[in-house]
Amino acid sequence: MTVDVLYFAWVRERIGLPKEKVETDAPTVAVLVEELKAREDRYAAAFADLSALRVAVDQELTDFDAPLDGVREVAFFPPMTGG
């Protein structure tokens, strides 16, 4: 399946783009992360410490165990600093 993958803040800067389409059969976010890390060093660097990252699936905050079945959009970003 094809998933829109979005990056924000320093994750976006480290990977070097805000958004890309990714072809994947990963069953969970965690497996998708492993596929991305295997691509290039900049991905490996961005995802080196998952405890420093948050993930949203279809615009809902979730965790790295979340299933990807039927999902259209996955976003990775650092802890939020609103307010």
Binding site: A9, R12, E73, F77, P78, P79, M80, T81, G82, G83
Partner: protein, 151 residues
Amino acid sequence: MAVRVQSDSFDPGAELTAFAHGRRDAGAVVTFSGLVRDTAARDLEAMEIEHYPAMTERAIAGIEAEAVARWSLTDSLVIHRHGRLAPGEIIMMVATAAPHRADAFAAAEFLMDYLKSRAPFWKKEITRAGESWVAAKDEDEQALDRWRDGA
């Protein structure tokens, strides 16, 4: 209940005037206004706020709905800006109206605690020395704990 996410500036005073106007049912109105604070070195040139447009309004509306469910509120308002802001500029505002002050205060603090750590905004400080992303604070994450067992 209202949510506005915008790059344009706004006047928190004008918002408070409109929000409080003509309420006979709410004795208490609380506002929080967040301003761009200068760095300790007083060298801040700008703050840049990035957000996740598809998610932002929905996330804030969800937080507001939870506040309305938990406290006896007559109304609430959240405005949050994104883009490039100068020191002293308004970043965001929360307003709550309630019959009693305890509800208005608690709901405003709850909204702020959740917006800080659960609304998809990221702040970057641009100083003469360079740029850096504002790190999330442990105390902001801990602030959420007080709402977990019923306030």
